[in-house]
Each structure stands twice: as C-alpha cells, then as structure tokens.
C-alpha cells in the first residue's frame, strides 16, 4: 500500500510515455515553485510606480496631490510617548506605543476647522491649533486650559473627541487617557472648564477609544469609552508585571468598556452593563453607524488581541452583540481601527478595520466589510479587502475614508508602523516566540525578551489608496506626495482651508503632526453640508446624508469619532466628479426627521438646521 516503496516510478524500466509524464510532472513542479514570484509580480500591478511625481503630474494622473505643510502652517508638534513603570522597561517601546491622536473641530464657531492634538509623556502638553483663516494655525491650548493635562497622578492622553454634550452650540472636549478621563466644557469658544466630577465620570480608565453618539435618541449625545488595559492598573505604579494580554488572539483580560448616558443635566450615568456592553477585550477603536437601518445608531468595537464586536442597538434600550452571526467576528485578529464609509456608492455602510500584516510572520490583513444582504436585522458582511486591493497595508493603525480627488468615490488613507527602533533589527522573532505560548507565559511582561532598541514593524510607509469606482483601489502613496516612515497612529480628514477639498492630518507616535494640504484638479465639483440639530442633538451626530447625483447615491454621516484615536471634521463632504448638478440630498436626522432638499447648489457649503 502507500508505505511500500513506489519503485514503479523509478528506474529505467519505466515505459516511454511514463518517462515523459515524469518529466512533465517535474516541469510543472518547478513552475509551481515559481508561482509565488509570479503572484507577487502581478499583484503589485495596482501600485503606482511613479514615486515623486511633481504636483502638476500627480494632478494630471490621479486628480490630486498632497503636500506636507505643517511648518508653513505654523504647526510644530512632536508627540512624546508615555514612560510607564520601570518594571516594563525592557519592552517599553511596545507597551507604551500609543497616545498620538488628532481630532478636528470648529471649537470657536468661526467656520474654520481647528485641531486638537494629544501628547503622552508626563509633563508634556497637548495642543489646540486654532485656524487663523490665513493658512496658518496658532496653539491656544495653554491659554484656553486644555494643554497641561498629562500628569503622573492623573495619567496621560490617548485621544480626544469633540461633542456638544449640553447642546449650547459649542463643541465640548472629552479627553481619554491612561488615567482619569476628563470632560471640558467649551465656554463659548473663549476657554474650557473642567466638569469631570460634576459629570460623574469615573476616576480611572486606561482607555484608547471614545465615541460620542446618541444611542437612545433623546437629543443628548452619549459617550462610549473603550478600555485597553484594565482600569484597576496604574501603569506608573505596578505591583507586578502580569499586565500583558493573556493571548494574542483570544484575550479577554483587557479593560472593560463604558457607556455614559447623558441625562441632559450635565450628569452622565454609566449604563454599559445595563445595556449589554460587557466586554473586557482590549479595545482600540470604535465607530457608530445605523447598520441595520432601523433609525438608531449601532456600535462596532475593534479589539486588539481578539475578535471584534458588533453591537446592534435595540431601540436605545439594549445592545445585542452579533459580530459572529454578522460574520465580522469569526476570525480573531488585531483590530485597531473602525471607519464607516460608502466605498461602492450603494447607499450602504462598508466598514474598514485595520490589523497587522507583517510578511512571513503574521498576516491578518485589513478587513473591508461589505454588507451582502439586509434581512431586516443585522446585515451579514463579506470581507472584500483583498478583492478591492486594500488588505495589506502593514502594521496598520488609523484609517479614514474621504474623497481626496473629488471624483465622487471615497478613497482611503491608512497610516502604518508600530515601533521604529534605534536599529532596523527586528523584534518579531522574539515576539512570535512568546506570542505562541501559553497564557501564563504571555501575560507576564517579565517573560518577554528585551527589545534593546529593535524595531517591531517600524519604518513603514503610509498607504493612500485611490478608489477607481470599479471596485478596485490603487496604491498611489508616494506618487501623490506621502513619503514619510514615521509610526502612524491617527488620521483625520477635514477641509482646513475652506476650499472644497479634503486635507489630511496624521498624528505619528514619537513623531510629528503632519498636515497634508490637498490640491485637487479644478474640473471636479464638490458639495458639503454643515448640520445643526434642534430636536436632535445640536452637533447632529448620527445624522445620515444620502446624496443623489449622476445616477448614483452615497451615504455619509455626521460622526462623533471614528478611525483610531481620531475624529474627522463635523461637516459631510462629497466629491462630485464632472457632474454639474446634484439631484437631491436627503437627510435623516437622529430625531427621525427626514429632510429632502432638491438640487442643492454644487461647489457650496450648505449650512442646514434641522426642521422643527
């Protein structure tokens, strides 16, 4: 039988046809060994090989060009990482690899987008860059009271989200930290007042994600906060070194999540357990959208070291976790970003989740979840990241959709890189050695070999993926002017100079805040909407906009934070391509009010107030 030596294959006695077949088999075998090389060659066809194009050439070829203008815009910010308990010193670069964040707002209601940027070293300062309307920004964080927020006793910043929690017309600031979360009331754009205690927020959360959304649609925005490390850990004063995840794919020893219901009187009530948000995974990102089209916002939570979670909102009373049945939580990965966008112009939410892709070591691949059908409940999703060419980015963190060339299709900016060490020697061997072991070994930081300045997926390039409208994205990163190798964390898109284009801001860990000014080919039109709620929350967070033009439809929403440690501008921005008119915009406000505006003017920012 099978274990018998198959001598008939060997030897000179084999008949001539069989010898020919043997030779043919060997030839095919060699061809198969060459298959990976061929696959690599042909799969790289979607990557532009025209690095370093001039702006006119990039405009001609791709319709847009990005130029890093931080210095010229007066933004000189370098993120400083946290330094935690010395017990973690051997692997400090990896455990303290978070904290660079950026969120966009118009805090002073002057019609120009401002930026809030976090820092993470004890004693370092956050920055609030006020847009001076002349192409430059000035840091007003210190005089306005939101700069000196990184202290040994109260923790350091991990990110921030803006939302008008008291409906006074001014965006307030929620700062989440590895430490005490802080809520700052915006005093009509002239300063901020700390209201943490009166808002009834907890003493300590080691948080890496937060999202404003009005889950119960009562007209007051509520707040989701995602925990990373457990809340009972003071990372500057550890009693032992058992602080690591118990598994790199199934960990459930992270921080708990929180849902703060806004009572409307300035006080928040914590209702996570009462509403079913009881996970203790290692949350790194979250985003809200009405994925089941029932009028209330649902919540997607991206978790590192495990499966993600999709919570369907049951009329503001409870959340039902449906990740597995919706097919977005079958395979554990390293979820680090959550962004909703309509990349196919179908009026449907697709969801982009970033993960780790390190060749030969760990290839999770990013996910682009596309709903395949809507059966009245939660949609079922299919991952089309590979088919659409946005799967392999690197050790990916923040990502944002935005129509960067105003051609009518949402493009994608992804930032990458975990730890760029003093050397380019890799720590991946040690990492994979320990990560494959039992939880008693993994969970104890003292078992992890020292990094000694080595890199862990460092010096990686960002990705700018251009949506060609046929279901494929093309990597145009260096061609359009993005050439840095910093460790990327947060990405935000905003029209910083009110020109009808989306600029890009990227916060890099231990690196600069880069502002990419976008130049777009003039013949592409655009339209934008700034919404203000009346019956709904005043920020209009959760409002859905359906734009109909040129026989197509694209859905966008006013969001209260998405991506990784980031928040885009409050406005909705649409590129229109060559279209000279729009059929209509249909707005579904969070209150349920549906407003239709026929033929709104293009190349215009429309300020809309919710009908009473």
């Amino acid at each position: 039988m099978h274990s018998r030596p198959e001598s008939t294959v060997e030897g000179a006695a084999a008949p001539r046809p069989r010898r020919f077949l043997k030779a043919l088999t060997a030839f095919v075998f060699l061809g198969l060994l060459a298959t990976p090389v061929a696959v690599r060659y042909f799969s790289s066809g979607s990557r532009a090989d025209d690095a370093g194009l001039s702006v006119p050439a990039a405009l001609e070829r791709y319709g847009f060009a990005l130029q890093a203008v931080s210095d010229a815009a007066g933004i000189r910010f370098t993120h400083q990482p946290p330094m935690l308990d010395p017990k973690l010193e051997p692997i400090m670069p990896a455990v303290a690899a978070y904290g660079a964040a950026v969120s966009v707002t118009d805090f002073d209601r002057d019609g120009w987008q401002d930026l809030y940027v976090t820092n993470s070293a004890v004693g370092s300062r956050n920055a609030l860059y006020r847009n001076r309307q002349d192409g430059t920004f000035e840091d007003v964080a210190a005089p306005l009271g939101v700069a000196e927020v990184n202290h040994r006793a109260t923790g350091v910043s991990m990110g921030a989200v803006w939302g008008d929690y008291d409906n006074d017309g001014y965006e307030d600031l929620f700062l989440y930290r590895w430490g005490r979360p802080e809520l700052f009331h915006n005093d009509r754009g002239s300063g901020f007042t700390r209201v943490t205690e009166s808002a009834n927020l907890p003493d300590w959360i080691n948080a890496n994600a937060a999202v404003w959304f009005d889950y119960d649609r009562d007209g007051w925005i509520d707040l989701f906060v995602g925990g990373f490390y457990p809340a009972d850990l003071n990372l500057w004063n550890l009693t032992n070194t058992r602080v690591m995840p118990e598994s790199f794919e199934y960990a459930q020893n992270g921080g708990r999540n929180y849902l703060f219901r806004n009572r409307g009187d300035g006080i928040f009530e914590e209702v996570a357990e009462a509403t079913g948000l009881t996970s203790e995974r290692w949350t790194l990102a979250a985003a809200a959208a009405d994925v089941d089209h029932d009028g209330d916002p649902d919540l997607f939570v991206a978790n590192d070291f495990g499966i993600n979670e999709l919570y369907i909102n049951d009329r503001g009373r409870r959340f039902r976790e449906v990740g597995r049945e919706a097919n977005v939580a079958r395979t554990p990965k390293s979820g680090m970003n959550a962004s909703f966008g309509d990349v196919l112009n179908r009026g449907e939410w697709t969801l982009y989740v970033t993960n780790i892709s390190e060749p030969g070591v760990l290839i999770h691949g990013n996910d682009l979840w596309v709903p395949t059908h809507d059966s009245g409940g939660a949609p079922r999703y299919r991952n089309l990241a590979g088919a659409m060419g946005v799967e392999l980015a690197g050790f990916a963190f923040g990502a944002q959709f935005g129509d960067l060339n105003n051609d009518g299709w949402l493009d994608l900016f992804v930032t990458n890189g975990f730890v760029s060490g003093e050397t380019r020697d890799s720590y991946w061997y040690d990492y994979s050695m320990v990560a494959g072991g039992h939880r008693n070994i993994i969970a104890d930081a003292s078992n992890w070999p020292a990094m000694r300045g080595r890199s862990l997926s460092g010096y990686q390039a960002d990705r700018v993926w251009l949506n060609d409208g046929t279901g494929r994205f093309q990597d145009v990163t260096p061609a359009v002017g993005v050439v840095n190798r910093y460790d990327g964390r947060a990405v935000a898109v905003a029209d910083l100079w009110n020109r009808g284009v989306l600029d890009v801001v990227v916060a890099y860990q231990r690196g600069p805040l880069l502002v990419y000014k976008n130049t777009v080919r003039a013949e592409h039109g655009w339209i934008a909407f700034a919404l203000e709620g009346t019956r709904s929350n005043r920020s209009a967070i959760g409002a859905e906009l359906h734009l109909y033009w040129a026989g197509t439809e694209q859905i966008q929403q006013i969001d209260g934070g998405n991506g990784f440690a980031s928040q885009n501008q409050r406005r909705a921005h649409y590129g229109l391509g060559p279209a000279s008119q729009v059929d209509s915009i249909v707005i579904r406000w969070p209150s349920g009010t549906v407003q239709t505006i026929p033929s709104p003017a293009i190349n215009t920012l429309h300020a809309l107030t919710e009908p009473q």
Partner: protein
C-alpha cells in the same frame, strides 16, 4: 461493516480541526480548507494514476491537505491550493531509490514560507488561552502515536527541545520561560506529535529516529539563535531528507556486503500519518 484502521489518523486530525475551528475560528475559512484538501487529493489522484497506474489511495493526500489548512495562515486563497499541490507533487518528483524524501506537508509549508512570505505566515498563536485544548491535543496525539509505536520520537524531540531551550538562554538574554513558550502552543504540538513522527520520512530504526529528532532540535536551536521564525519546519526540512539519504547509503552498503539479505520490511507499513 469492519472498521478500517487506516482511517484513524485522518479522523483524528479532522476532529482536531473541527474542534479548533468551532471553538476558536482557527481556519482562514471553510473555502481555504476545502481548497487545500481538494488540491492535494486531485493531485494525488492524477499523479498516482498517470505515474504509477496503481489503485487510488487518497487518504494521505487528504491528510496533507488538511495539514496545510491548519498550519498555514494566509488572507488569500491561492497559497492553500499551491501548498496542497506542491506537497503531493514533492512525493512524486523528489525521490531517491523509490522513496520520497520530504514529509509532504513539511515540504509544502516550507516552500510557501520561503517563497511567499508576503502572503503566508505559519500558525504561531495558541488556540484559545485555556489549558484544555493543549491537554486534548497532547492526550489524543500521544495516545495515537503510542499505539503506532512512535511515542519515543516525540518524547525524544520534546526532551531535546527543552535542553536546547536552556542552552539558548545562555546565548541570549531571553528567559527559559520565553524559550519554551513555543512548545506550549498548538503549532509545536502538531509538529512534535504528528509531523516529525511520519513513518515514511523518518529512518526505520528506533535509535536512529531518536538521533534524527535530536538533530532536528539541534538544527532548530541554531536557526533560533539566528532568529529564524520558522525554525522547526526548516530544521525538519534540512535534517529529515539528509537522515533518509544516510540511511539509504547505509543500507545499500550493507546489502552490497550481504547480497542475499532481504531488506527488512518497515515496521510501520500501512500507517496513515496525520501530518503528511
């Protein structure tokens, strides 16, 4: 109907796979495993018919396919097909004196890891963070190889691994706990229980098999000191065929000295091995 003992191994590994995927979603997806198994079995069917003309026996190809599906991780599908086909083809192309030299799964996995690192990674994480999957695999696996009289190979490898793990701590600043971490994960358990014990690609004597796995562990140590992530697979890839060639040379010398002597039949004829 009488139970066919040859089905024990494929049933065993199928049950492990189903349990692992049901509990922890370890597979890329059902299409990946279907593709790997189909590719391996179709290749076996075609090559066996074309090159040997002997009756079809697809069990070992099924096992190779399922092994590729478990041990290879890729976000795309083509590596599962290529891995399955390469594994089986290696049996028919890379031969010496009527024997194939590489464990088919080991060859397929090494080929993918070496040639397609941009699309492939090995199974390098644990199945869950509980103790019971580890206990299940060790209990079921040890029982199976004990019945097959191959337990000495696994035990010798495990002992060697621990010794060399300690040796590595002398040369690196890693703790002993870090160095032994891999063997507490499922990839090593499958490797130690089922791959290195494959009767077709190990030497026939008991003492020889122990020496060979000791050498596998030694080469693995060298590769680990060079920070090669796929050290166990590559070590078996290097040592396994070399050991077989030495055995063939040794036997042919003995046969030349005693031309009337009949080669002793393999003690393990008829076994179907889980990681082929």
């Amino acid at each position: 109907m009488k139970y066919d003992r040859r089905l024990t191994a494929p049933l065993l590994i199928t049950l492990i796979l189903i349990g692992a995927h049901w509990s922890y979603g370890v597979l890329r997806g059902y299409e990946a495993i279907a593709l790997a198994i189909f590719s391996a079995m179709a290749t076996e069917f075609a090559l066996r018919r074309l090159l040997t003309g002997r009756p079809q026996q697809l069990v070992s190809a099924y096992i190779s396919g399922i092994s590729i599906a478990i041990l290879v991780r890729s976000p795309v599908l083509w590596p599962y097909a290529v891995g399955g086909v390469l594994s089986i083809m290696s049996k028919y192309v890379l031969r010496m004196k009527g024997r194939h030299l590489w464990n088919p799964s080991n060859f397929g996995i090494c080929a993918l890891l070496f040639l397609a690192p941009f699309a492939v990674a090995p199974l390098s994480v644990q199945w869950g963070n509980d103790l019971w999957p580890m206990l299940v695999i060790w209990t079921v696996g040890l029982n199976a190889i004990w019945l097959a009289k191959r337990a000495h190979i696994t035990l010798a490898y495990v002992a060697s691994f621990f010794v060399f793990a300690y040796v590595r701590t002398v040369f690196t600043d890693s703790s002993f706990a870090a160095e032994i971490a891999p063997i507490t994960g499922p990839m090593y358990q499958l490797f130690a229980l089922f791959m290195i014990t494959d009767p077709k690609t190990t030497v026939s004597s008991k003492r020889g098999a122990i020496v060979v796995v000791f050498l596998v562990a030694f080469v693995e140590m060298l590769l680990r000191l060079a920070e090669v992530i796929y050290a166990p697979f590559y070590a078996l890839f290097i040592v396994g065929p070399a050991a077989l060639l030495v055995e063939m040379w040794w036997k042919s010398r003995a046969e030349a000295a005693q031309p009337d002597a009949q080669a002793a039949p393999s003690a393990h004829r008829g076994l179907r091995w889980p990681l082929r």
